[in-house]
């Protein structure tokens, strides 16, 4: 009798646990507000959405802005961002185009910005960088100057800019010294009033709270889930910064 009771109690617990997990699922991307709260301003995006009913986003980045495989392009965060933005901004036609090539330093991307912005005429440029420079050991002062130049170029061509820093990668933490580059991105963002999407802190939060196991043993499509969340959070940041959603975006998350 006692064993049956015990078994019942345990299965009840297990069910409650499973339910708690499924209930938690919709909020899986959620991070504390201070991680996604950004200073920074947009000049172009609000007008583009409200007046021209369009939003063209150009993602300039390296390997960590893409995923390999046949489904890669559809599951990487630029595509997820497009989907999230489209549902958040039904009044505008949203498009996300990418210029993603691995192993490019900030300097190589900054050199390409002018041409890209002229060709694509985006309203917003998302510039993902930092990792390659950290791996190559580029001088942090040069990195900083490059960021300033790239931001100025994109803005001069009429596009707003969001900076996006490196991924949190627990395995390579003792091998890639990215702190100086993360600091440079923070301070350039602050001084130029550019929103910074702090991908590093967001992913570290997921890792620390156990949302995603980023140390690599779990192969259950973690990469896709992470990119899905990154796309959603990025969309939120864009909507918040452009103040397109004045009745508080926090309720309908």
């Amino acid at each position: 009798m006692r064993t049956v009771l015990l078994a019942l109690a345990m299965s009840a617990l297990a069910i409650a646990h499973a339910q708690a997990q499924t209930q938690a699922q919709p909020d899986v991307c959620e991070v504390p507000e201070y991680l996604t709260h950004v200073e920074g301003k947009f000049a172009r995006v609000p007008t583009a959405v409200r007046k021209d009913h369009r939003l063209l986003v150009l993602v300039i980045g390296t390997g960590s802005s893409s995923l390999a495989g046949p489904e890669g392009a559809r599951s990487a965060y630029p595509a997820r961002l497009e989907a999230a933005l489209a549902s958040r901004l039904p009044q505008a036609s949203v498009k996300v185009v990418t210029d993603v090539k691995g192993r490019r330093t900030a300097a190589e991307m900054a050199a390409a910005v002018a041409q890209l912005v002229r060709d694509e005429k985006p309203d917003l440029v998302i510039w993902q960088t930092g990792t390659v420079d950290a791996m190559r050991g580029v001088d942090p002062d040069e990195f900083r100057a490059t960021l300033e130049k790239g931001v100025a170029t994109a803005r001069a061509a009429g596009a707003d800019v969001v900076l996006m820093n490196m991924q949190y990668s627990p395995r390579t933490e003792t091998m890639i010294a990215d702190q100086a580059y993360a600091d440079a991105m923070h301070s350039v963002a602050q001084q130029q009033d550019v929103p910074l999407f702090d991908r590093f802190s967001v992913m570290r939060h997921w890792s620390e709270t156990g949302t995603f196991d980023l140390s690599g043993r779990d192969r259950s499509r973690i990469a896709e889930k992470v990119h899905d969340c990154l796309g959603k959070l990025l969309a939120e940041l864009i909507v918040d910064t452009a103040q397109l959603d004045r009745n508080s975006s926090k309720d309908n998350r």
């Binding site: 190559r136 580029v138 890792s207």
Partner: protein, 387 residues
Amino acid sequence: MAAAVASERDLRLDLFRGLALWLIFLDHIPSNIVSWVTIRNYGFSDATEIFVFISGYTAAFVYGRAMRERGPLIASIRILRRAWQVYMAHMFLFVIYMAEIAYVGASFRNPLYAEEMNILEFLQQPDVTLLQALLLKFKPVNMDVLPLYIILLLGFPPVLWLIRRAPQLALAGAVVLYVLTWRFNWNIPAYPTGYWYFNPFAWQLLFVFGAWCGAGELHRLHPLLRSNWVVALAIAYIVFAFAVSLTWHVPSLAHFMPKWLAELIYPIDKTNLDILRFIHFLSIAVLVVRVLPKDWPGLESPWLRPAIVCGQQSLATFCLGVFLAFTSHFVLVEVSGRIAMQVALSGAGILIMVAVAAVLQWYKAVDGRRPGPRPPKPGASLAGGEA
């Protein structure tokens, strides 16, 4: 002048060098909750300043005596032999680092981190990488202190010679080199790009200043150290640095940082020993000297013994610390990254550092007492290899 050199070793130096080595170890374990206790989170300077200053101080103390007793040639050879030891230690750590990287590269495939895995590229060209590592131009993460120390030691014989003859001139020379370095951006190039993380042309200022103090010139600063105004200024500066550092950690405070101030002081340049960091270190030193007199009886207490022993066996403790930090990171990733594990690894690491330092210290004392060709020298067991 030489008579002014303290004949007894100042245990405060060993104590703070030992503490600095513990903090360096804790800071080198990535995402370690225990590293919140380390001073880099509460101001501008960190354990590196303490380590470099005290290393300069003890180098002048130990080799200065050798120069006085045995002449410049013998003392110089001792310094260069020490540099060679540090170089060997650095190479040993580099091999461990390579082993870790190679293991991670062979065992880890995650689509999320395809880009980060490019860090393994250098394994494809061992010829270039190994050569650059031997030349100290390849710079693995967290292994930048020893190359700095090697260069500082290599340049030390003439500096020490000058400090013993014209200490003010030597110090002025260090200041001039520091200023010129900032003016003309001198640094040693690294491989594949960039520069040394600790610019020796800038950091030499702290080392030479330490040596200047250690060579018996510290008494010139006594009027300053005794002045209440100086202490008040030091406290004010430490409070200011603490307030600034709070804005790094508490996001809701970030907007209290005035923009003009941010533009004035950022970036706080660790590579070139930013003057803000140097002043922060000096402020802490002023307070420590005021609060802890040299003859403070607590220095003999068994509670401080572990840190003092680590400070006296600094090279071994430092290398062990780097190795233990690698190992801890490995365990955190492979086994568990929970907070309990972080605390356990941090505590165990420090215990191991203390245990090994204690054994080395004991052996040195026992070995030194043995009758033989080398006459036992009092104090040499403390200071012998430890500059």
